[in-house]
């Protein structure tokens, strides 16, 4: 097996569209392996993938129940095993992850790497089947259909997340951006155990695959073991779509939804900025941080500290969309004042910012990135996101770009941003 360098990872590419990657770090006590199966996000299919992930997590060919899978994890010194779905721009990823203590910290003779990777590959590629092998087990599918339906209904219980979801659905109505990675309740009745097995085979056979092993493990050993176990059909893998950039609107869209909540939840979206991978990316990081993305932001200072209107107020840069979304939870009786302040703070920021604000943001962005590279999952997550958006950039280059941003670039980026939509729940 010949490894090549891919960003900071050691990599092996068994076929086009499939890449195995390893990053050795002695800092950690655990080894983490994660496989991403990447496909364009699509209506109905997203729900199938979401249900499939739950079924995979609950039974596999050799461990045909939740209990047996849980027992296998306990035997691996309390390994954690997860299968789920997530979204990266307009791509849905089915992910399977196992994390377990490195052998060097366990009693002599432990073979946890072999065992953990076997389990990971098994849940992904060898699900529990019906007696005739033509479908996933019907009892498992029914059970998880019920659980997924409840989980989708329960999303409204987390009020800030629910407000963000409802705002997203309105902002991206009619586009892949409105599809939730967990799927939709109305799609569930039509899913069959046969259809779900077809979906599993399609994912394993056609999705783009990125698989990572990170931690105190030699890349060659890790990737040789993973490659031996993860035997995938040789097939043409899907092409991933470009991300849908949020287009500016002529008039701001404003939605209000009533709900019985203690607080009013407010969301504001500004569109028209750069996306991850473009030259304007680093200035956009500054623009978001200045508005609400770091500890000294305008929204934090004015809405929270000066006026005492909110405990939680912040903004987030949606890197694949070129948009900034601000969110606040406020007293219903003072919501109008909060709305006025958030709108005016953005306008005020477009007019300029101080040298101190700029310098503090620069330090925060640099520190946040350097800290993130210490984490076991951040490097892999960033690489996958870059892959989905179709580019590759070393972390050091990102730091360099952040360091080199000039205030004029941030001002120019802020001027490009336009109010797009506002949403109010409560």
């Amino acid at each position: 097996m010949k490894l090549t360098r891919y960003r900071e990872f050691q990599s092996f590419r068994p076929q086009p569209g499939v890449r195995l990657l390893a990053y050795e770090s002695e800092r950690f006590k655990t080894i983490r392996a994660r496989v991403y199966l990447l496909e364009p996000i699509q209506p109905r299919v997203a729900t199938e993938n979401s249900l499939l992930a739950r079924v995979m997590r609950n039974a596999s060919a050799d461990h045909p129940s939740r209990r047996e899978l849980a027992r296998a994890c306990e035997e691996l010194y309390g390994a954690t095993l997860g299968v789920g779905v997530t979204r990266l721009a307009d791509v849905q990823a089915l992910t399977a992850t196992v994390e377990f203590p490195a052998e060097r910290y366990l009693p002599k003779g432990s073979k946890e790497l072999e065992g953990a990777l076997s389990l990971l590959v098994e849940v992904l590629t060898r699900p529990a089947l019906s007696p005739d092998g033509s479908a996933l087990r019907a009892d498992q599918v029914e059970q998880e259909r019920y659980q997924l339906e409840n989980e989708l209904r329960a999303m409204q219980d987390d009020k800030p997340a629910w407000a963000a979801l409802r705002a997203t659905q309105r902002t991206y109505a009619g586009t892949p951006g409105a599809i939730h990675e967990m799927g939709a309740i109305e799609d569930l009745p039509a899913i069959t155990p046969q259809g779900l097995l077809t979906r599993q085979r399609s994912l394993v056979g056609n999705a783009q695959v990125l698989a990572f092993v990170t931690g105190p493990v030699t890349p060659l050993h890790a990737l040789a073991t993973l490659s031996r176990k993860l035997s995938l059909p040789r097939a043409r893998r899907v092409t991933l779509p470009g991300a849908l950039r949020l287009a500016n609107r002529k008039a701001v869209r404003r939605d209000v939804e009533k709900a019985e909540t203690e607080q009013t939840h407010l969301l504001f979206t500004w569109s028209g900025g750069a996306v991850y991978g473009e030259r304007g990316f680093a200035p956009m990081l500054y623009a978001d941080a200045l508005l609400g993305g770091y500890g000294m932001s305008r929204l934090f200072k004015v809405v929270r500290e000066e006026h005492g209107l909110a405990y939680a107020v912040h903004s987030q840069y949606h890197r694949a969309r070129g948009s900034i979304v601000a969110q606040a939870a406020v007293d219903p009786g003072r919501a109008e004042l909060a709305i006025k302040l958030i709108r005016s703070e953005f306008k005020r920021l477009q007019k300029g910012f101080s040298e101190q604000e700029f310098a503090a943001v620069r330090e925060s962005l640099i520190e946040a990135r350097r800290s993130a590279w210490d984490s076991q999952g951040a490097r892999a997550g960033d690489l996958v996101f870059q892959h989905v958006l179709g580019f590759k950039q070393m972390p050091e280059q990102q730091l360099k770009d952040i360091r080199n941003v000039k205030p004029a670039q941030v001002k120019a980026m802020l001027k490009k941003l336009r109010p797009h939509s506002e949403y109010r729940l409560g």
Binding site: F28, L76, N150, D157, E262, G295, H307, D331, Q356, S375
Partner: protein, 433 residues
């Protein structure tokens, strides 16, 4: 860097491949340093042994009582100084800073990759220098009321708080950490000053540092900086006052309606009195193993309840042990709270009768050793592991050995004494009709 007089003692765990260094700084503050070779991230916590339950104490024989939620209010207020908000100072250097208050502790911390010494200096200034301006206190009160309201929208927190109210009749655990809009309205700059003077003396604080440093370097730096901000006055004498908590739980059931999609049930079991030292840690180990053996995903009960569609993947069970109190919690979302309650009680009845399987305990030993290793995986986890041990007054490195020595008989005895039908309360949240 000046040569230090503070001697740090290395304490090692062969099993965990861990070492920490401990000592007491010149000003009386305890220092715990955990080296983290290879990490660029560095973290420091100042932890006050002072939480929301410390609302009453004796000072020179006289009882002092302060409004509920004041420890949390103080946490917010400590960032404000006469020369500005110290959050801004950390942020200007790019450091991440935050704080939190629990029932027994208040912790202030920062994370950074550069400028550690300057940030540590600011952290110590933050914790050791009081400044309570009326206008700033009034503004902060509004923010705290919004925080209280935010938690009132959170079903997990509402259900848990209702559970504590059902378990405890007198113990201040039954009161929300942040207090209420009414109690925080009674907080004044003078009361904040009083609480700071009582509980933030260096003798009541612990500095926890993790990062890629040499122990002597950390000791010298911490000693010099703490000395710069520490008050010259001696540590105040005070004695915490805890009302005597009845052995019995306060209320068998509490039900509340909320804007949620489906019901939630939590069952709580109370240890009215807790031992100290190793005995407390052992009780924690035994209780946690018991809960895991009975209700983890690997258990027969979990499998059956899941098949019966009485629980969702968020169902869980655990035990919380701190100096002076302890409780077990079982539950999660359910379509039928009454049915789930009956089913859990049935499992417990059987467990009290039959006990747990010895084979299960062997697996749990492996699982818990792995969990312990994982706690030391990254700098944050390492710091939190030591801070958790502070709240128990326990020696963390003894825990793996305890797990190895635990017997089935001990676990079964714990099940029989804690998980009894007359020792539980049910907290139920129902969707609004």
């Amino acid at each position: 860097m000046i040569a230090t007089a503070v001697r740090l003692k290395p304490i090692r765990s062969k099993q965990l491949h861990e070492v920490r260094h401990e000592g007491v700084l010149g000003c009386g503050m305890r220092l715990i340093f955990a080296p983290r070779a290879g990490f660029t991230k560095k973290i420091a916590f100042v932890v006050a042994s002072y939480g929301s339950t410390d609302s009453s104490w004796l000072h020179h024989g006289k009882r002092v009582t302060v409004p509920d939620g004041i420890a949390h209010f103080l946490e917010h207020q400590m960032f404000k100084k006469s020369h500005g908000d110290l959050s801004d100072v950390f942020t200007a250097r790019g450091a991440y800073v935050n704080a939190h208050t629990s029932h027994t502790q208040t912790a202030y911390y920062f994370e950074c990759t550069e400028n550690f010494e300057q940030n540590l200096d600011t952290l110590l200034e933050l914790a050791l220098t009081p400044y309570f301006d009326k206008k700033l206190v009034d503004t902060e009160r509004d923010i705290i009321i919004q925080e209280i309201n935010q938690y009132r929208d959170h079903p997990g927190w509402v259900g848990f708080q209702q559970l504590l109210e059902g378990l405890y009749a007198k113990h201040p655990l039954r009161i929300d950490i942040a207090g209420t809009a009414e109690t925080v309205s009674a907080v004044t700059p003078q009361l904040l000053e009083l609480c700071h003077g009582t509980f933030y003396h260096p003798h009541n604080l612990t500095l926890v540092i993790t990062g890629d440093f040499e122990p002597a370097q950390v000791a010298a730096m911490a000693d010099e900086l703490a000395d710069k901000w520490a008050p010259a006055k001696p540590a105040p004498r005070f004695e915490r006052v805890r009302p005597s908590e009845p052995k019995k739980i306060a209320k068998h059931k509490a039900v509340r309606r909320m804007f949620i999609s489906r019901p939630r049930l939590l069952l709580g079991f109370k240890d009215a009195k807790q031992p100290k030292g190793d005995a407390l840690t052992m009780r924690d180990v035994l209780s946690s193993l018991a809960m895991d053996a009975l209700f983890s995903k690997e258990s027969e009960a979990y499998e059956q309840l899941y098949e019966q569609r009485l629980i969702t993947p968020d169902f869980g069970a655990g035990y919380q042990a701190e100096l002076g109190f302890g409780y077990a919690v079982i539950g999660g979302e359910t379509p039928d709270a009454a049915k789930l309650e009956a089913a859990v009680l049935k499992v417990l009845k059987q467990a009290r009768k039959q006990g747990i399987d010895p084979e299960v305990l062997e697996r749990k030993r492996r699982k818990y050793l792995g969990r312990f290793l994982r706690a030391f995986n990254e700098p944050e986890g390492t710091a939190y592991a030591y801070i958790g041990a502070l709240s128990q007054g326990s020696e963390l490195f003894d825990v793996p050995g305890m797990i190895e020595r635990v017997t089935v008989k001990q676990v079964n005895q714990r099940i029989r004494e804690l998980l009894t039908p007359d020792n539980y309360t049910a907290s139920v949240l129902l969707p609004q009709s």
